[in-house]
Assembly symmetry: C2
Homo-oligomer: 112 residues x 2
């Protein structure tokens, strides 16, 4: 069993092209013994942008932990806030922006 506070986990830039004001912490992944799926924590700063993109074979299970923002699925803009759970099936467009003055943090679980 491994326990660690998210603030103890290395904060890394996200590699997605065009991304702005966003970092990722790999909370639970292969290094912790996970084999089937990984839990990451994203922080999207005020005015941060995760541009519209998709992943062919990778679904997302997301939970907004803190703050709020707007999710765009390529067709509509959907306000999201702490306590929201979001399922993004593989292949579906998605983007996030944070136009507030507080960071937005969210858990995002992906297959390994």
């Amino acid at each position: 069993m491994i326990k660690r506070h998210f603030t103890e986990v290395k904060e890394e830039p996200s590699g997605l092209a065009g991304i702005k004001g966003c970092t990722v912490r790999w909370l639970i992944s292969k290094d912790q013994g996970a084999q089937r799926y990984a839990m990451r924590l994203f922080t999207l700063q005020p005015d941060g942008i995760i541009p519209l993109h998709q992943h062919e074979d990778t679904e997302h299970e997301i939970f907004i932990v803190e703050g709020q923002g707007v999710l765009d699925n390529g067709r509509e803009q959907i306000p999201v806030r702490a306590g929201d759970a979001i399922f993004v099936p593989a292949g579906e467009d998605h983007s996030f922006v944070n136009h507030t003055r507080q960071p937005m943090r969210f858990i995002c679980v992906i297959p390994l």
Copy 2:
């Protein structure tokens, strides 16, 4: 894509023997299109107990969203609080208690 706030999701008693003051919401599972893993939100009320147990083939990826409590792995008692990520490998004992006056909520992701 599906978005729903956790308060919109049916709150159910957990079926674990000996459990007290604990409910579960299945935020993202097969009904939402998930195929590989499910995201649940547990609420453990003040004086709530999830007794020591294990799952032979099921690992847990946990993130404490709110509150605090104590995790017992059968050997030691480990304080946990909002922002902690916990990996419980398949077959490892685990229990939670909440001795505070506030609910503890945590995300727990399991394989489907």
